[in-house]
Assembly symmetry: C2
Homo-oligomer: 578 residues x 2
């Protein structure tokens, strides 16, 4: 391909909101262009890279025995009502306006419902299981705050796979195959990934792992033990239980007048105590309208999925002021654990609360707090559990070593769904004895665009992108200096044609420009191997090969350049193979 | 690939509305499944075929120098307001409901606006032209009556290309490249196609051709000269001018009382005249609210695009009753050409009207018609032109031979757009002298799913599909009879592995079924080459090779089968190459 016959609209200025390096570089290098918030054009260079990511994913899915199909974006809302996700997806699920000729259509943010409908229609026997179906297809999600370029958009390319098994062992095996395939995919794409335990969220299910790539541009935070390798999303990860404070004598409980002081900060300022000595008392409603009181330390945050799991309910949400005032007999802001037992609410204390001494909390009396509060003596939780987010300073639950906290991008997510969808949608099979059971499902997603962006987050410098060779839009860039010189152009063209004939993705910069801008663009678009063909070095019968990720230059004869480059490419590709 | 590890949900019963053979066979062979009206799942076999069509299209686009990118479905309605197509697209254009965080979003039924926005943003000089950009991407159109399986759906895969040139000669060259690429694509997909002159419709533009495949399941009608090769969509095609009736003496005009007789049929019945002796008088409004009277023979239909072109207006629509009654001074149903001149309407007569003798028409007087009407003597049209649809019996405009009328599927459409979009959206370039001009555009579409369906329409029999080898989901099907026999399975498996290693798409039917159902399924899914491996023929050291489209069977030794099949495949592929 010749640069002058291709379309690489590089850009000097990037918008102020483009702070993530991948966002900035994808715009500057002419990979993407925004059409509307969260909606992007993939320009030719960007599209080439994205297709290479998709190809690697497809190869590894096929290798793992998954079967490709293609489901439509337009889906009947009835399927979503069957699974109950019209509610849990909320406004993320885009509904098309009804028309006299078409009603109840949504755009698929994911395809559990459609694939379960396929499988329940065609599969009825254990003999037809297991099966894993996948697609690489465009998803629509009405993100309220699209951000960071293609990292969070309303329309994106996703690989989604769904496994169906007859039993839990089968699910474990199907899950492991996908897990292994994901490791190979990220390895081949050159991503330094970490696998973490994850929260399932509205997809649902028993267990899940996320594949994370560390970068300041990420929206997720993972905690990782540098010692034993334990890693989890902070939404999910369990901190090591805290040891109790020792030494301090137990004070008696004492009420303090704290008029209009409602927040932890206000009360701490007034009482001159650190937030870590306070008990935060939060009232929740469960999915079945029971009331739960959650107690966490003043410097901690409740993790609602953990709380819901501890309470064995599908989800929790903060209770209304009415419920709180009825329960505590006080205005909102003065709730505390003391004296709440027996009022119909279940009290769940975080482990860190259970080891506090002489704590402070609301007094269940308007404008009063209580100090000298001691768990066990002054209140007894119904349950002690891990219901908070881990924070820097927490230690590894497995080995007790220090945890590292890092922002990261989620590039993939695998879930053991269990029977959430097969129960709701009656996707059943008959076993050897003719007994019906719900199928056991797993689901597995990769954001294709995110993989591309994460690769740039991991591989760039000030001058531009440094593509992993496996997903680079071109593998070799031939820079013809002195492009009006006949000898230069004939050597460059011959090399281009030799490489192209050998199946190399090669781009020839044949623009009539000075060397400076050509080299600058070469660094910006980040093709892994650059070959410079110029009058001066040709006088010594040489062309220059330079890797984008190294400084040294290798001089080879024009006649041997193609062979040398195919060798280098072979080695570069091999270095990314698992 | 082994059948038992793949997913081919064949189906016995097809829905009553599945009348088109491709629709019926795609359901029966497990290629597609409907999710909602006009929204289809491509099951694994169907998706493999569709991807092969897409690959051929991509190869030919690349060969023609078009550059691939990817534009999103979600687009800002502002772009459509710039081009004015929010109106002309009507309800076909799907608008998403506004949200506080997102407003004015449509789903792209096509991408002229987005691509023009890209090009005007990045291209400003004649030096950057010509350029042709394309994508293979999912389109959304809110069809009121989806039908015939994947032939008319609300969501479909389309290859759309857009060319930008500095002048009309450039456009001609870009158009010809796409035209040639389309011929290669359909040839390679095994489609017996015909290129016809076409009407541009709401896409707009100066000239266009459609690529048609004859089939009773089609929604279009083409007319084609068996003698000189002229072919056109009936929406567009010009019939040979009719000769005047000779011999009959000119009668004097005479009014006839025709109370409450308004339609051609009513009047013909009453007057005992054939419709071909009537003049139909229709009143239209132009895009700029001028009034036009169109005259066609009673047995002909006005072709509104032709009428609009003759009237040099963007579009015409039938006038309201008020306008008709004001113009004719009669109730609706009694309009005629006589005496209309000078009343502010332009009279455009079809050529066939201009040669009528002693015709009948409305008298511009309620409840009266007039007979003995003669053009020239009794009324004088402002313009005589071809403003009707051609009908069986019409002859070729070029050579006068008989025209054939055939229903067909449109599988592709190329348009010379000219400056319709570049004018509206100010997509301009500077020429050598720094003068700004609008770019000259072309656009080029292929319905990928339709190509697949058209291939089935053209290649099937009672038993199932007969895939062209180039787009067959698998090239070879190995049917292992006696699948519990060790020798059979070892020969079948070895052949499978040999073929797969040679890059052949091969499927091994390893199901534990009797030969009958296996052969039935083989015919149904239509893989081009079938190899039967059975105990009986293995006793003679033979396996049997059979083409799906022939009856004879070739016996070869298991050892030579792979080589023989790769030879046969090479020849089959070569036979489809242009």
């Amino acid at each position: 391909m010749r640069w002058t016959q291709f379309f690489i609209p590089t850009v000097r200025e990037t918008p102020a909101e483009a702070t993530a390096p991948s966002h900035r570089l994808m715009i500057r290098a002419g990979l993407i262009r925004q059409v509307a918030a969260g909606s992007y054009i993939y320009l030719p260079l960007g599209w080439r890279a994205l297709r290479k990511v998709a190809r690697i994913i497809r190869e590894e899915m096929d290798r793992a025995g998954a079967i490709e199909l293609h489901m439509p974006a337009m889906q009947p809302v009835e399927l979503w009502e069957e699974s109950g996700r019209t509610v849990s997806m909320g406004a993320t699920l885009i509904r098309l306006p009804d028309q006299p000729w078409r009603k109840g259509t949504v755009l698929g943010p994911t395809h559990e419902e459609v694939v379960t409908d396929i499988v329940r229609s065609f599969i009825s026997s254990y003999r037809q299981l297991p099966i894993t179906l996948y697609q690489i297809q465009t998803k629509f999600r009405d993100e309220q705050r699209p951000k960071s370029g293609v990292l969070r958009t309303r329309e994106f390319l996703m690989k989604d796979a769904y496994s169906f098994d007859a039993d839990k062992h089968g699910l474990d095996a199907s899950y492991q195959k996908m897990y292994d395939a994901y490791c190979r995919i990220y390895r081949r794409c050159g991503l330094p990934y970490v696998v973490v335990e994850a929260e399932s969220g509205p997809i649902g299910g028993d267990a899940s792992h996320e594949f994370m790539v560390e970068t300041p541009a990420g929206e997720d935070v993972m905690m990782r033990c540098g010692s034993c390798g334990y890693a989890a999303n902070v939404e999910r990860g369990e901190p090591h239980p805290l040891a109790g404070e020792e030494g301090a004598a137990l004070e008696p409980p004492r009420e303090v007048h704290t008029p209009e002081l409602r927040t932890i900060d206000q009360v701490c300022g007034f009482l001159k105590r650190p937030p870590a000595s306070m008990i935060k008392t939060l009232v929740y409603r469960t999915a079945h309208d029971a009331t739960i009181v959650a107690l966490v330390r003043g410097d901690h945050e409740v993790n609602e999925p953990k709380l819901a799991r501890a309470a064995r309910t599908a989800r929790v949400e903060l209770a209304d002021a009415d419920i709180i005032q009825n329960l505590t007999a006080a205005k909102v802001g003065f709730a505390g654990p003391q004296g709440l037992a027996g009022r119909g609410a279940r009290i769940i204390a975080d482990q860190a609360v259970s080891v506090m001494r002489n704590a402070a909390s609301g007094a269940n009396r308007t404008d009063y707090h209580v100090v000298g509060l001691n768990p066990g003596r002054d209140f007894a939780p119904d349950l002690v559990a891990d219901i908070r987010n881990a924070v820097p300073g927490d230690r590894c639950v497995r080995c007790g070593s220090e945890l590292l906290f890092r922002t990261c991008i989620e590039v993939g997510h695998v879930f053991k769904l269990g029977t959430k969808y097969s129960d709701a949608m009656k996707a059943r099979f008959l076993d050897e004895r003719g007994q019906a059971h719900p199928m056991i499902m797993g689901c597995y997603g990769i954001g294709v665009n995110r993989v591309m962006a994460a690769a740039i987050e991991s591989h760039h410098d000030e001058a531009g992108i440094r593509w992993p060779v496996s997903i680079a839009p071109f593998e070799v860039l031939i820079v013809a200096l002195d492009s009006e010189d006949e000898r230069v152009m004939s050597v460059a063209t011959r090399l281009h044609d030799e490489l192209a004939a050998a199946g190399v993705d090669v781009l020839l910069d044949d623009r009539d420009l000075r060397p400076g801008p050509k080299f600058k663009d070469a660094d910006l678009i980040g093709v892994p191997f650059r070959v410079t063909v110029g009058k001066k070095s040709l006088a010594d019968d040489k062309v220059e090969i330079k890797r984008r990720d190294a400084d040294d230059v290798e001089k080879v004869s024009p006649a041997s350049a193609a062979a040398r480059l195919t060798d280098l490419l072979r080695a570069a590709h091999a270095s990314l193979m698992p």
